[in-house]
Amino acid sequence: MQLAHSAARFGNLRQQSKQLSLAIVQIAVICLFAWAAHAVATAVHSPIPGSVLGLAVVLLALALKIIPEKAIQVGAAWFIGDLLLFFIPPMISVIKYEALLKQYGFNILLTIVLGVISVLLGTGFVVDRVFRFERKLHLKRQMAKHNKEQQALKDKAGE
């Protein structure tokens, strides 16, 4: 019992380390993509930054099945899941702007709170309406398809 338990734990550990090395390799691959995209964007003086170009290229490669989703899935999940870690350093510079933030703290919060409310409600209202419309459109299309099929069946029976 004890043995089985520790064996399972060991197996689990092996699985975990395998998962970890897979993640590290995929993270390295994505970093390589980013570096290449940046190099190309700089070389051709692209007005669109390399990271966004890279996103488009990788998306295209996924859609055309040049890169299988599995090949970058774990690495991408880490980048997105731990996104916050990458921008803690710029936030530490608040120390540099202490006086500014102390003086305007209330105005900043007021601007952001009112701004968030406007975006949330404005976008919510628009999307609620458009979504209801698009859902109805789908329903109509489905009904039309259904009716057509029924008609075809009836015609066949009539023959």
Binding site: A34, I80, L84, F86, N107, I108, G115, V116
Partner: protein
């Protein structure tokens, strides 16, 4: 090893350490002050001040973390690809949502800065606040914003959106799953997406898509938007 290198290494360790500790703590207790987006920066700022680490020393190694925002942007290709079915099903809703989100974000902030007095550098840094940080940092230079202040404004936006989003949508009767998801993703990017995921699976997916597309639109159109809103 000289003292400066040691302090730089300690800076990196406390940054990564406090982030993962905060993340683990929030997983156990979902209290707002344990949110990694609040707790981690606060702890790091306190430690940097207490240990009197000079800012250039702090950034010596930690700036490598910021460079990871570029590959993180590329990683967004995976969720777009994975949710292609939803995009194909509701192209109109998602397109309208993204455009509405970006436009409401820019115009509301711009109008508010006309009324509420703020110094120049803050006005320029706050405009892109409604999109996710990797995109905001790319776009802010077109508006003449300061990257560090922009990062802070984006973060505050996320926290506020996460807190007031759900009750506000209940109050104003935004009921549909896509309505709620898009609104949260457009107004509070990553934090909004986390909140949307708590509400429901489809809400979370559509919030993350909105956040990514809004970021891309903001970055690509930044020079144009900067020309209008200046």
């Amino acid at each position: 090893m000289n003292q400066s290198t040691l302090l730089a290494l300690i800076s990196l360790a406390i940054t990564v350490g406090s982030y993962y500790i905060a993340k683990a703590m929030y997983k156990r207790h979902k209290t707002w002050w344990l949110l990694p987006s609040i707790l981690a920066p606060v702890v790091v700022v306190l430690l940097v001040v207490l240990l009197s680490i000079p800012l250039p020393t702090y950034f010596e190694y930690t700036h490598w973390l910021v460079t990871l925002l570029a590959p993180a942007t590329i990683a967004f290709a995976v969720p777009i690809y994975r949710e292609r079915k939803l995009i194909r099903q509701y192209p109109l809703t998602i397109t309208c949502g993204v455009i509405a989100g970006v436009m409401f974000g820019l115009t509301s902030t711009w109008l508010l800065t006309r009324v509420i007095p703020l110094p120049e550098e803050l006005v320029h840094s706050v405009l892109v606040r409604s999109v996710s940080t990797p995109f905001a940092l790319q776009a802010t230079s077109a508006f003449g914003g300061v990257p560090e202040l922009t990062a802070l404004m984006v973060m505050l936006t996320g926290i506020i959106g996460m807190v007031i989003g759900e009750p506000l949508m209940k109050l104003f009767r935004i009921h549909t799953s896509l309505g709620r998801g898009v609104a949260l993703g457009a107004s509070a990017h990553g934090s909004g997406t986390a909140k949307a995921t708590e509400i429901g699976q489809q809400e979370g997916v559509v919030a993350s898509l909105t956040m990514i597309f809004a970021g891309i639109v903001m970055v690509i159109c930044a020079p144009f938007f900067a020309w209008i809103f200046s």
